[in-house]
């Protein structure tokens, strides 16, 4: 699964730390998601999408390996 979390973050000009606080996880988790090392749970993906006021599919999408 790929994501454009880094881009979305850049648009709002917020840091990983800010986003982590907003959705209630550690900074490592946001970093691991951006590096495609960790696929978040559905709950976390929904929380992130809610924060950016977008649909989950606009931030997270299937990659070729999936």
């Amino acid at each position: 699964m790929d994501n454009n979390l880094r881009v979305e973050r850049a648009i709002l000009k917020i840091t990983q730390e800010d986003l982590a606080k907003q959705v209630g996880v550690s900074r490592q988790t946001i970093n691991a998601i951006e590096l495609n090392k960790y696929v978040p749970s559905t709950v976390l993906a929904l929380k992130i999408a809610k924060y950016f006021q977008k649909k989950v599919e606009e931030i997270f999408y299937l990659s070729e390996e999936d």
Binding site: Q16, G24, V25, S26, R27, Q28, T29, N31, A32, E34, L35, Y38, P40, S41, L44
Partner: protein
Amino acid sequence: MVKYLFPYKFKSVGIALLSLGFSIILILFFTNTTLTIPFLKLYDSFMPLNEPVNKQHFFVFANEDVSNELTGILMIIGGLLATFSKEKKEDEYITKLRLESLVWATFINYGILLLLILTIYGLDFLYVMEVNLCTFLLLAFFRFNYLLLKTKKELANG
């Protein structure tokens, strides 16, 4: 999220107990001393020659070297607290790292044990069993904290 974790503050308690246990092991090993004290035993199979064979040996006080018991308890309780306490910010990714460390520790621990079963025989194997009591927890603890450190390093680089 995993429910059965100790609060974060117990992690440092666990590390302190592990260090204490390990220090005692090293001191006893290098000074060649024992910690022999009278100890209540549930059952003692040792029978002195002048006693009748059928005498009960339950709940007896006997001088016993308790260094194994002491260090074993310290290492097990310390290992459990250190490995199974929450992190400061415990979330789903941290939980995943802990579970992965447990799988890794299981394979490594039993891999080494298999090798030792095939190479160490007789009473010497008792030492292997003693050490093996806490190696699983130690492996899981070090692997988990290595992974945590790695993710923090990635933060510094990114």
